[in-house]
C-alpha cells in the first residue's frame, strides 16, 4: 500500500506541473494525435468499404455464378442454364409456387458527380419480379418502382446523393434510347446496391441486345439447403456453375481492396508511430533531465524506484492518451460518414461508400497511442530510477 501511495503521490506531482512543460508535452500529444488520425482515417476507408460490400448478406441467400467467374461482372449464364437453376431443389418457393429466385444482369451507364463534368460509370442491375421478395431490405424512399417492359429505372440512394441527373422524373439517354428515373431506393442490407440503379432485366436485355444473364440470386428453403442445391446443380453435367452464400461472396469481393487499404493504413500508421516514439522518447528524456534534482530528492527522502518509474510512465501514457483522443476526434469530425467512391464495382463502375470511424477503430488508435506512450516513457523512466542520487543532487541542471 505504501508503494501504491508513493506512486500516486509522485504521479500526481508530475501531472500537476505538466503546464510548466507545455511545449514539450505538446510534442507527444501532437505526434500521437497525428499517428492516430492518419491510422483511423485510412482504416475507416477499409471498414466503410467492407461494410458497404459485405452488407448484411443473409445466410439463406445464395448467388450462383458461372464456373471460374470471380464476380458477377465476369460471369455469363445462358437462358437454358438459368431455367435449370431456378427449378433446382433447395430453393424456397412463394405462396403461388414460384421460386424466390431470379436471374440478374449487369450493365453500365454514365453520369457525372455533382459539380463535375467527367463521366463515370454506374452499375445498372437488371432484376425480375422476385427482386423485392428476394431482397426485402430494399424499400422505395421516393417515387415508385419501375414497370416491366418500359424504359424506367430506379436509382440507389447513395448514387442519387452523389451523382447528378438521377432525381425522380429525370431522363437519361443510354442504350436503347431514353430512360426515366421513376424512383429512389435504399437497400439497408447490401448497401453496395445503393451506388447503382435497377431496372427490368428483360427490358435491359432487349435494349443492350444480349441474351445472357450474369448471375442467379436465390433464397434457400433453409440455411442448410445449400448442400442440397449444390448437389443438384453439380449433378447436371451440362451446367458449370458455382453456388455460394451471399455473405461468402461479398467477403471475397471486398478482400483484396481491404487488404491494400489496411496495409496502407498499418504501414503508414506504423511509420508515423515509430516517429512518434522517437518524439516521445526525446520529450520524456528531457522531462526527466529537467527534474533530475526533484527525482533525486524524492529518492533521498525514501521514495522507491518503482514510484519514479510509474510516475514517468503515467505522464507519458496520459499525454499519449490525450493525443489519441484528439486524433480520434479529428478523424471522426473530418471523415466519419464522409461519402467517397472508388472504381471498385464490377467492370470499373463506381462504388460509393461512407467512411466509418467505428468504436473499434478508436480503441485501436488508443492501443497504438498507449504503445507509443509506453515505449516513449519506459526508457526515460528506467533512467530516472537508476539515476545516482548524489550525482543528480550535485548537478546544476541535472545532467
Amino acid at each position: 500500500m505504501a508503494v501504491l501511495r508513493q506512486m500516486a503521490a509522485v504521479a500526481g506531482m508530475n501531472l500537476r506541473n505538466l503546464p510548466q512543460r507545455l511545449g514539450a508535452s505538446l510534442v507527444v500529444v501532437v505526434g500521437t494525435a497525428g499517428v492516430v488520425a492518419v491510422l483511423i482515417s485510412v482504416l475507416a476507408m477499409a471498414v466503410g468499404f467492407a461494410r458497404t460490400v459485405a452488407g448484411a448478406g443473409r445466410a439463406d441467400r445464395v448467388i450462383i455464378l458461372a464456373d471460374g467467374a470471380l464476380s458477377e461482372s465476369g460471369s455469363t449464364l445462358a437462358r437454358d442454364a438459368v431455367t435449370k437453376i431456378l427449378t433446382a431443389p433447395g430453393i424456397r418457393h412463394d405462396s403461388t409456387g414460384d421460386p424466390i429466385a431470379e436471374a440478374e444482369l449487369l450493365v453500365q451507364f454514365q453520369v457525372s458527380r455533382k459539380g463535375d463534368t467527367k463521366p463515370i460509370s454506374v452499375a445498372l442491375r437488371g432484376v425480375g419480379k422476385a427482386a423485392f421478395s428476394l431482397h426485402p431490405e430494399i424499400r422505395i424512399v421516393r417515387g415508385r418502382t419501375f414497370r416491366p417492359g418500359v424504359h424506367e429505372i430506379i436509382v440507389g440512394r447513395t448514387a442519387w446523393e452523389q451523382y447528378s441527373g438521377l432525381d425522380v422524373d429525370d431522363h437519361l439517354g443510354f442504350q436503347g434510347g431514353d430512360w426515366t428515373v421513376v424512383g429512389i431506393f435504399e437497400n439497408t442490407g447490401a448497401s453496395a446496391m445503393n451506388s447503382g440503379a435497377m431496372g427490368d432485366a428483360e427490358t435491359l436485355m432487349t435494349a443492350f441486345r444480349r441474351n445472357w444473364f450474369n448471375a442467379v440470386t436465390a433464397l434457400l428453403d433453409t440455411p442448410g439447403s445449400l448442400d442440397q442445391l449444390k448437389g443438384a446443380l453439380a449433378a447436371d453435367l451440362a451446367l458449370h456453375v458455382t453456388v455460394q452464400r451471399e455473405s461468402t461472396y461479398f467477403a471475397a469481393q471486398s478482400r483484396s481492396l481491404n487488404i491494400v487499404l489496411s496495409f496502407i493504413g498499418y504501414v503508414v500508421g506504423g511509420m508515423m508511430a515509430v516517429g512518434a516514439v522517437f518524439c516521445a522518447l526525446n520529450t520524456m528524456y528531457a522531462a526527466v533531465s529537467a527534474r533530475a534534482r526533484e527525482i533525486a530528492t524524492l529518492r533521498a527522502v525514501g521514495f522507491g524506484a518503482a514510484a519514479v518509474v510509474i510516475s514517468v510512465l503515467v505522464e507519458a501514457l496520459l499525454l499519449a492518451l490525450i493525443g489519441a483522443l484528439l486524433g480520434s476526434l479529428i478523424a471522426w469530425l473530418l471523415f466519419d460518414g464522409h461519402l467517397t467512391s472508388m472504381a471498385a464495382g464490377g467492370g470499373g463502375t463506381q462504388l460509393a461508400f461512407a467512411l466509418s470511424v467505428t468504436p473499434g477503430l478508436v480503441v485501436l488508435g488508443i492501443v497504438w497511442a498507449c504503445f507509443i506512450g509506453f515505449i516513449g516513457g519506459l526508457f526515460p523512466a528506467v533512467r530516472a530510477a537508476r539515476m545516482s542520487v548524489a550525482t543528480a543532487l550535485n548537478s546544476m541542471e541535472g545532467r
Partner: protein
C-alpha cells in the same frame, strides 16, 4: 566553417536528444519520400500518356465486356484527323497457376499505326502479324515465368473459352519486349486473328477497344467528339477518350492519390516540426548566457541566425538524406518480398532530382520555421540580464 566548432558543440551538448531528433526526422522523411515519390510516379504515368492518342470503347458496356464490332475501324479511320486505328482484344486468365493471373492483348494489323509507341520494332510487328499463334512477352512476364523466345506457354481463360469449349490456348513466345507502364505485372501481345478465329461465332469480330492516333493533339477532344457523334444513333454507340484524360480520370477514380499522399507526407512533417521547434527552443533557452557572451564578443543577429538555423537544419538535412535512402531501399525490397497489388503500390515511388531537392528544401524550410521564435527571443536579449541570470 569558422563557426563549425560552435555548431558542433551545440549539437552534441545533449547527444541523446540530437540522436532522437535525427531519428524522428529520418522517419518523417522516409514517409515523405514514399508518399511524394508515389505522387510523382502517378503524375509521371499521366504525363507519359499522350493527348494525340485515344481509346474508343463501348459507350454503354455490358458485363462481361463484349466490345465493339471491328467493322467500326474503317469508318473511324476515315474521320479527318485520325492517322491510325488498331483493334485490341483482352483476355484475362492465367498460366500454370490459377492464382497467378495475367493478360493477353490481341492486336491486329492496324495497331502499329494506332499505337506507334508500342515497345515493338517494325520487324517484331511483322513477325507477330505473320505468326498466327505468336506472342511477345513483356520483360516482367518473361521473368515471372522464365520464358525465352521459342518457348510455348499455355494460357487459360475460363471466361474466354474457345468455340470448342477449351479454355486454354497455346502461344509461341516470339521474343521479349519492354514493359508497358499500365501492365506492371506483365503482359503478352498476341495476334488478334488467332484469337478471333478460335472464338464462338457470337463473340467473333469484336474488339474490346480501339487504339486511335491523331495527327494533332490539340484537336483530340474535338476528334473524339466527332467519332462519338458518328456512331451516336447506331446500335454500337462509342465513347472516345484521349489517353491522358483517361489516365487522369483513373488516378482520381479511386482515392485521390495526390490528396492522400501529400496529406500523409504533410502530417509526418508537421509532427517533427513540433519536435524540432521544441528542441531548438529549449536548447536556446538553456544557453541564453552563452548567447549573451557571444553577443558581447560581437556576434550580431545574422550570426545568431546562422548558428540557430544550422543547429535546427542539421538533423533535418541528415534525416532527409537517410530517409530518402530508406524509402528507396524499401520500395526495391517490396517487389521481392511482396506480391500483387501491394508490391505494385510500394514499388512505384520514384525519386527524381525534384523529389530529392524537395526533401532538402522542406528540411531547410522546417529549420527556419523552428528557429523563428528562438531567434526573436535572441533579438530582444538583454546581455546584462542574461549574464546576471535574470
Amino acid at each position: 566553417m569558422k563557426y563549425f566548432p560552435l555548431i558542433w558543440a551545440a549539437l552534441w551538448r545533449n547527444p541523446a536528444e540530437t540522436l532522437l531528433t535525427w531519428l524522428a526526422a529520418t522517419v518523417a522523411f522516409t514517409l515523405f519520400g514514399l508518399m511524394v515519390g508515389l505522387y510523382v510516379h502517378t503524375q509521371r504515368l499521366i504525363d507519359l500518356e499522350r493527348m494525340d492518342r485515344a481509346y474508343v470503347v463501348q459507350r454503354f458496356p455490358t458485363q462481361p465486356y463484349t466490345g465493339l464490332p471491328v467493322a467500326l475501324v474503317e469508318p473511324i479511320r476515315r474521320i479527318e484527323g485520325v492517322v491510325g486505328v488498331g483493334t485490341a482484344h483482352w483476355l484475362d486468365g492465367y498460366h500454370a497457376d490459377p492464382h497467378g493471373s495475367t493478360r493477353v492483348m490481341a492486336v491486329d494489323e492496324g495497331m502499329p499505326a494506332g499505337w506507334p509507341e508500342a515497345p515493338l520494332t517494325p520487324l517484331q510487328w511483322k513477325t507477330l502479324l505473320a505468326t498466327a499463334n505468336g506472342a511477345y512477352a513483356t520483360r516482367m512476364a518473361a521473368d515471372r515465368w522464365n520464358l525465352r523466345p521459342g518457348d510455348t506457354f499455355q494460357f487459360t481463360s475460363p471466361q474466354d473459352a474457345q468455340a470448342n469449349g477449351n479454355p486454354t490456348r497455346a502461344f509461341q513466345v516470339l521474343g521479349v519486349i519492354g514493359d508497358i507502364p499500365y501492365a506492371p505485372q506483365g503482359l503478352f501481345v498476341a495476334n488478334y486473328r488467332y484469337i478471333n478465329n478460335s472464338e464462338a461465332a457470337d463473340k467473333q469480330n469484336l474488339g474490346n477497344m480501339f487504339y486511335v492516333a491523331f495527327a494533332d493533339p490539340k484537336r483530340a477532344l474535338e476528334i473524339c467528339r466527332r467519332i462519338d457523334q458518328r456512331f451516336a444513333n447506331s446500335g454500337d454507340p462509342t465513347f472516345c477518350v484521349p489517353r491522358r484524360t483517361d489516365a487522369q480520370g483513373l488516378a482520381n477514380s479511386n482515392v485521390n492519390i495526390a490528396m492522400l499522399t501529400l496529406a500523409v507526407a504533410g502530417a509526418g512533417l508537421f509532427m517533427i516540426l513540433f519536435l524540432i521547434a521544441n528542441v531548438i527552443a529549449r536548447s536556446v533557452s538553456e544557453r541564453i548566457p552563452e548567447f549573451a557572451v557571444l553577443k558581447t564578443l560581437g556576434f550580431r543577429q545574422p550570426h545568431m541566425t546562422l548558428l540557430v538555423v544550422t543547429e535546427a537544419a542539421a538533423p533535418c538535412l541528415l534525416g532527409a538524406l537517410l530517409g530518402l535512402a530508406l524509402a528507396y531501399l524499401l520500395t526495391r525490397m517490396a517487389i521481392r518480398l511482396l506480391s500483387g497489388d501491394i508490391a505494385r503500390l510500394l514499388s512505384s515511388p520514384e525519386f527524381p532530382p525534384g523529389v530529392i531537392a524537395g526533401a532538402f528544401g522542406f528540411a531547410i524550410l522546417l529549420a527556419f520555421a523552428c528557429a523563428v521564435i528562438p531567434l526573436q527571443r535572441l533579438r530582444t536579449l538583454s546581455v546584462v540580464d542574461a549574464l546576471a541570470g535574470r
